[in-house]
Symmetry: C2
Subunit: 730 residues, 2 copies
């Protein structure tokens, strides 16, 4: 029975397997309310839904114009069951089942003669809901002042959170109780990050992973964020009894946007949505018919379900591209890590304090001798890729403009066309192609989106001309147009615009510093990756905690793959550079990431000369697949450990990865997933007994053995370590 009960009072909708139950009703003030439970345990306590609009300066319609939160009556209801299985272009599994019970309430607001629809989809592992705004006489264009969707938690859960911020998502994840967020907030923000734009001492980002005291795993995020601002969450502030209070003492803090005074104060431990504003402070410009993204709540009593869930992808629309034959998983290396570490530079010259890229005679300038993207070095990387079966070579710093590229409010910063004098665009591409390798394009926009859009078509044409089929783009620094933010409606539109235009050119996109993904890769599978979190580069900037990579799959990866750039085998940077930082994993831990951090785009991020020192370990990076027919999450606990086995696409081979935090972890690996009766050769890359990410990171063992289904392997992961296994069918 789809609808267990449906009365004027409340609709109850259960998930296909009955584990999740949703209640929806309109309360006496005409406010939409929902609540959610899992196996009879409360997940979302009664929570209000609605939006607050802004007055339209051109067509204001009176005092109640802005209230899309109260005064509703339930006009009609619709429900249906949906069950499909679809095949992703790339992914963790060959097929994905999309099975839900849907409930849509059409709500009428008689005083304003308006209607909205709130639509729920209830899955076995969570639910999504969104606001839909049909085209209608009294609601054609509207401005969003704030969305006030509540998520009332049932207790003082443990949360893994990032400070809510309009411009960066590269902070270190915090772990504390909900009640502790406010006190933790100030230290959670790395104020030295020039992009910091926080807005509330209880504002956090999604995907937000939580765990209740009685062992429920709960995750809040969003799906299909299109033509809408990215959502943050603000926790009701128990200290001040107000929603938002202003953070003191920092200029990058924005004006609080409290709930309307008429609105009842939410319960404690309640999150309320907080959208990213545009330059004027507004959160959205809408034209009906339209809808919000899906707001998602995933829940399970098994942490592994958080990782295997396809809820976010399923809530996105099917693939919009007719031809996807040109989209392919990609393993790459690149001229990158040595600049990140500080050994070489993106820029070509140090002669000028600033440049106008179209007025400088680059041939006449004195090279600084540190420019990495030079013909000789790129050829070495091409050779390395060709020799080791890597598909592509990323080259950052190939194009003019890096002399003064960041944080200058410089609009015409790059042209994405003109190579530095020591980078022979044609010859290097020809050489790469002669060796069976492609170059990967790099478009750092410096967040000057106006400039990027002006050059976009020609930049993509240049890629087509020379045979590039993938671009890593970047959005470092303050957004131009000035006053806009990285996660606003208009910027979200910009990122998608680039993805759509790239698809026309058969170009895959890997956008760094762009908005955190919300599953759009289902609809636009040429979006093969994003950064949108704290990547490996931070290991050279002071480091990330060892548990970082066993948090990200629960949070950042919910929306889509991350170009985390693993594979730093020489974890002690001081051994080959002046950078004294260490990578906060063991060497084997780096190998494990290729399996535990799913992505169709995987970098072998270390330098060829560093890999040369560990060619036996590097063999795993050469062997590991990056597209899969099946994935089995074998054990998982947020910030503690993740173990997953994946079956390589179109083969009978499996790759298993285990990664743990600073405490180490003993994995008992049951080889249940192998075909019964078949023999496999396993190559086991394991931390040595005395390995430790700080004191002895590069101590590892490589063991080969024949294995079969039913066997069990004991694998001791070192502090900050992991393991990686290739299992080749014989």
């Amino acid at each position: 029975m789809l609808l267990a009960s449906l009365s004027m009072a409340a609709a109850t909708i259960t998930s296909p397997n009955g584990n999740i139950e949703l209640k929806f009703y309109v309360d006496q003030q005409g406010r939409p309310v929902y609540e959610m439970s899992y196996k009879g345990r409360p997940v979302i306590l009664p929570s209000h839904l609605g939006l607050e609009l802004a007055k339209d300066k051109h067509a204001s319609r009176g005092t109640n114009e802005t209230d899309l939160m109260t005064g509703f009556t339930l006009k009609s209801e619709q429900s249906r069951e949906f069950d499909e299985t679809w095949r992703p272009v790339w992914g963790e599994t060959a097929t994905i089942r999309n099975h839900y019970n849907e409930y849509a309430a059409t709500l009428s607001q008689p005083t304003e003669r308006r209607e909205i629809i709130i639509r729920f989809r209830v899955y076995d592992d969570g639910l999504g809901f969104r606001y839909e705004f049909p085209q209608q006489q009294e609601l054609n264009y509207f401005l969003i002042r704030e969305e006030h969707s509540e998520f009332a938690m049932a207790g003082d859960h443990t949360a893994w959170w990032l400070p809510g911020d309009y411009d960066t998502q590269e902070q270190e994840t915090q772990e504390c109780r909900l009640s502790e967020i406010r006190d933790r907030y100030r230290q959670a923000v790395n104020w030295g990050n020039s992009s910091v734009a926080v807005f509330s001492p209880t504002g956090v980002q999604t995907s937000l992973q939580m765990k209740s005291q009685d062992g429920l795993y709960i995750n809040i995020h969003e799906a299909a964020c299109i033509n809408y601002a990215t959502m943050h969450l603000e926790l009701v502030d128990a200290q001040t009894k107000a929603l938002t209070t202003k953070l003191e003492g920092n200029s990058n803090v924005y004006t609080p946007n409290p709930l309307p005074s008429s609105y009842p104060l939410p319960k404690p431990f309640t999150f309320v949505s907080h959208l990213t504003p545009d330059a004027t402070g507004l959160k959205g410009c809408m034209q009906t018919p339209c809808q919000s993204p899906w707001r998602t709540v995933m829940v399970s009593d098994d942490a592994r379900d958080m990782l295997s869930s396809n809820l976010i992808l399923n809530l996105n629309e099917p693939c919009a591209l007719d031809d996807t034959s040109w989209i392919h998983p990609t393993k790459y290396c690149g001229v990158w890590w040595e600049m990140i570490v500080g050994k070489s530079s993106w820029n070509y010259t140090d002669e000028l304090p600033s440049v106008y890229i179209d007025k400088v005679d680059w041939q006449q300038l004195k090279p600084n001798g540190r420019h990495a993207a030079n013909n000789e070095k790129v050829r070495r990387y091409i050779d390395f890729a060709a020799d080791n079966g890597l598909d592509q070579v990323l080259v950052e710093g190939w194009n003019v403009g890096w002399e003064d590229w960041a944080n200058m409010w410089k609009r015409d910063v790059f042209d994405f066309q003109t190579p530095y004098p020591d980078f022979d665009l044609k010859a290097l591409n020809d050489y790469a192609h002669s060796r069976g390798v492609k170059l990967m394009m790099h478009h750092e926009t410096s967040s000057s989106t106006q400039n990027y859009e002006r050059h976009l078509e020609k930049a993509y044409q240049l890629m087509n001309q020379y045979g590039y089929d993938a671009v890593k783009s970047g959005y470092v620094g303050d957004i131009i147009p000035r006053g806009d933010h990285h996660y606003s409606q208009s910027m979200n539109d910009h990122y998608l615009h680039c993805i759509k235009e790239a698809a026309k050119h058969h170009i895959m996109v890997n956008a760094h510093e762009a908005v955190r993904p919300t599953g759009l890769c289902r609809t636009y599978p040429n979006l093969v990756g994003n950064e949108s979190a704290r990547g490996t580069e931070y290991e050279a900037f002071g480091g990330s905690r060892p548990d970082h990579t066993v948090i990200l799959p629960f949070t950042r990866l919910q929306g889509g793959p991350m170009d985390y750039t693993p594979g730093i085998l020489e974890t002690q940077l001081g051994t080959w550079s002046d950078n004294k930082n260490i990578v906060h994993t063991t060497l084997v831990g780096q190998l494990a990431l290729y399996v535990t951090m799913y992505s169709p785009l995987q970098m072998a991020a270390d330098l060829p000369e560093n890999y040369a020192k560990y060619m036996d370990a590097f063999q795993f990076i050469k062997d590991v697949a990056c597209d899969w027919d099946d994935s089995r999450y074998l054990e998982a606990e947020p910030a503690d450990y993740i173990t997953v086995a994946r079956k390589a696409k179109g083969t009978d081979n499996w790759f298993v990865g285990g990664k743990c935090d600073e405490n180490g972890h003993l994995t008992t690996l049951k080889l249940d997933f192998l075909d019964k009766g078949r023999k496999y050769e396993a190559t086991i890359y394991a931390d040595a007994k005395d390995a430790h990410y700080e004191t002895n990171p590069k101590a590892y063992t490589i063991t080969r053995k024949t294995v079969k289904a039913g066997q069990t392997l004991k694998l001791q992961q070192a502090p900050g370590g992991g393991f990686a296994i290739s299992i080749i069918a014989l």
Copy 2:
């Protein structure tokens, strides 16, 4: 002697003929000061120069970082005389002399280790000065909080002014004493204009025409506004003794931006520059080397010199285009006035409250029956143009999206590609070309500049494909990106970007609602016109005063030609439509505008069927040239009358126009400009004796007579009237 005196105390620079004298010095507080006189009479009393910078959030350098106004010492001086004669691609005269004495002071600010240059060019009819910012260690990137250039007037002059506004320049010109501006301000603003964004009760726009009580004509404007925000002027407020006070009672009023408190209060009747802000309130993002536009002060004791001056053009850079052969003067008609009057519509259907232009099946929609840009009507206009020697036919409303185009914050409003179902793009162009006529493209952007730039290349390609070589663009409504303004640095860059891209496609641009011009047509002569003021359309929206067209040449036209769209011979709109407005000139007054309002682009704006009623008068519009070898301003007084004789390009024919205000005017026209001894046939279009713009507008006489040099004609212009004469060499 170029420098009459040059000491540590003050430099004195005179104009080539000695009429104008400039003094420049650095005062005891290290503030740059200039003053200016004309024939010994003060024009600019001692006035300070300088800029206030904003702190850079990424690279703040301490407390004095923002002060680029005080603490300067005179480091060095340079002077030179310059004299050239250049040939404009189109213009009022075949050649233009550019003759000035230049003085440049390099100013050092030791505490900040910075240098700037203030450069003056002193002409016989005025001067220009600008700030130059050389590339230097301590000044590479900077943000402008405000420019504080003072223009201290010597008395309580009469001024012809528009309210300073960040988004519209289409208000009616005000005439009053400087001391009366504040009291006049509120009524000067048409608050019904949805674009109003005023900022100060004494803020005015440039070009600002003034007249002193003792008969000096003074005009303040700017030249070569490139990569900089448009300048307004704020009058020192005698009432409050502060520079800017907030206008009360209107939401479109911006935060005052007062002078720094440490700064001395300027003298009474002092204007101080006020730049147009971006969405964050800042006025400019600069990278050295760079410079401000020229700030211009024109002066004469003869009003005609205000009109014949080429100072603004001369202060612009020479033509930047290698090939200008494709740029040509253009006379055109168009499907336009009947929509302005309200008789037909731009949009095709009334069925939908809003449209997504790429999701609508236009063929299936019900036409509203009022769509003007249809095949049948456009063919009639093509025939009319061909039959009467007009070059082009503008068609507005040809492309989809007009159903909901304005003031909706709609980004994807037009695609500039898709015609309405009843507009056959190919067939109509083919037909036009078969008749020796071109269609003129129309790109209304709805101020969604982001959308326009995304489509710009393809829109221009479409024009090339079908043989369009000119585009009228429009910027109605609020700017997208939201929060930006029509005259900000970034928008000024947008307009120029479009002009430059158009030039690559050999396309001429006529941008409406874009920033008021500052002589850029010298450098980019494919900028053949702008609106940027209150055009003829306002005659259908309630009217403009009869003196409007004898003010505009003193103000708006200083920066470049205006697409005023004259030629409304059926001045009483109610005779053919439901619009009850009248045009506030006589019929002959409309003819005069083709001569008095110089433009290389002239529209015959009335309907073919209206011209059919006055074909004898229409003959002048057919005959009149729109490019000239010579122009002689014969009499002029701001807001009273203008009479000018112009010699048609490459001919010996002259056209004379006289236009007056509501009081009428008797012109004694001496035919001194004709070649001595030669005979000419003059056709004189004159107001009939009882003509009057309100009561009897269409009473006119046409007289033919043979004339020769030395003769005098007496021409009585009616109230709101004028005259027009064609003088054809025999």
